[in-house]
Amino acid sequence: MLRNPFEDWGFALWRVLLVAGIGALVGLFVGHLWWGIAGALAIELARQLANLNDFLDWLRHRNQRDPPDAGGRWGDAVSLVSRLHRRKQFHKQRILRLFRELRRSTASMPDGVVALNADREILWFNRKAAELLGLRRKTDFGINLASLLRVPEFARYLEKGEFSSSLRIKPRIGEPTCLEFQGAPYGEGQLFLLVRDVTRQAQLETMRKDFVANASHELRSPLTVIAGYLETLSLGEELPEDLRGPIQEMRRQSERMTAIVSDLLELSRLEASDEQVVGQPIDVAALLAVLRKDLVARDAGKHEVSVSIEAPDGLMGDTGLIHSAFWNLADNAAKYTPAGGKITLRWWVDELGGHFAVTDTGPGISPEHLPRLTERFYRVDPGRARDTGGSGLGLAIVRHVLQRHGAELKIESEEGRGSAFACHFPRTRLVREPIAMTGDSGYSPTNDK
């Protein structure tokens, strides 16, 4: 801005003196010196006040009005203020543009986003989140999100404050809509919540599970018929000698198929729910004794089976499921260990919880197979599978049973030395007192296949 050299402080002072001088001259002329000076100063003061009034008026309505055309110090003030105002407007526009850009980009996001403060109240959400969660832009800021999305699991997820895993819920029971939430904490306790509509995926998964369950159920009846006739045939006296071998083989294979189908059914039952099993106390020592007896009976003493019980504690769990899991592990060891090998069933307790392990002296498993071992129908050696007669689902069943008991399966193996399959149960699953066995409170050793 160009500065008028006369319009500085000194000039203003001189101006007042000039006005006073003119007043004095006029006063002398009419014979009242002091009245003249006072009158001139009063006029000057009135002019300044009028300028101040204009200035304030303009400040108040500076967006609609042009700046007043005042000279002197007032002009300085006006131009200074309007410069500040312009600069502020510029910054405001820039931030506003940035904000709009941000809002538009988040609105186009395919996933819902909700920002929550430390008290889990809604700070902000995008359009998709509003659509998925039924939030309203006008009223819902500052409301606790768990108050609007009142599914108990969701409140628990927010409360837990640990967001390494996502949460899948159906916000309205009885409706198929399924949402997946993933929290991401930021700042001082705030939370970014990503919401995705996974209805389609959930439906596909249910369809797949239903299909497996239905297919295995439907396969069972024809298989029973085939197996029944084969049995009658193989027992028949009049069977020609050259058919005896094929019929025996057919019988063996139909038995194997029955085993696969019933394992599939069991697996789909296990998969139907993720809920933790409560169950009842199980006497592990007695269970292992039964397992050992069954194992020895089944493979006709080909292996040396020993049981080692190192703790009196029992286990809280579903008797049938735990029996099935432990039997699958023991049975696997027997299948893959050559005759004369040693199999050890061991139960022990330490500060981490209870542990059950099956150790064998079999050929071992090379490390690249270990991570995939619990997949369905995964075979380390596809050629060998046929003669052992397994369904290929045993370890998948074990894994699911353990999952529903909050336990973990760990496999250690060294090629040529043998393998160890260990189940690690959390401390909460242990029963301190040894359980008094009453009647049939145990497992039925007959339910193995």
């Binding site: 009223t139 800021f141 500052g142 409301i143 768990a146 108050s147 009142r150 108990p152 029971i173 009885g174």
Partner: protein, 242 residues
Amino acid sequence: MDTAELSQHISRRFNEDLERVRSQVLNMGGFVEQQLAKAVSALVEGDSTLGETVARDDFEVNRMEVSIDEECSRILATRAPAASDLRLIVAILKAITDLERMGDECEKIGYIASRLATQERPVNKYREIKHLGRVVQNMVHDSLDAFARMDAEAALRVARQDRLVDEEYEAIQRQSITFMMEDPRNIRRALDVMWVVRAIERIGDHAKNICEYVIFMVHGKDIRHVRLEDVEAELAQRGTKN
């Protein structure tokens, strides 16, 4: 009273207390909603385990009621709230009683569902109960939404739906009477079904009560035992005045 007003409180702690107890109420409401949905689906699907689960889990609702009740007494004793805060506490105290009763009705439905699951299901597969259940579930959901948002208009809308539920209840009652007259062997089941329908209808009434508390909370006006049309007219009048 809206949330902005709530947050203007001098005492931050007090405000936090109020907010906490309010979200506890809605937590409890969420649980009751789930119980209701489970109970109805246990009956319609003939799932006896689910019915038993619902009946067993009712203790959770009672526990929540007691804990919120204590919290409210504590706030009343130590903070001596006034005006809108007092209205909030009073409304909460009343709402949890209604929620607890809803829980009891769900327990009842759960019991009956687990008993009926062993019997043969009727031809229409309890379609009318499913429908009534859906209407009441929506009512409960919307009334709790209105409570969370302090939305008196939504509350009034929900309260008006109660009439629909009553009509539906009448219709099912007539239908059941026909069943019973057709074949006396149906009587036992029809009576059980009537119990369930009655319970669902009662839950609708409790949802309506909650809506009334919301209006009481927002406008400080007691609308119990007043015709809804009058309430509407008065609220509209207030709206134009403001």
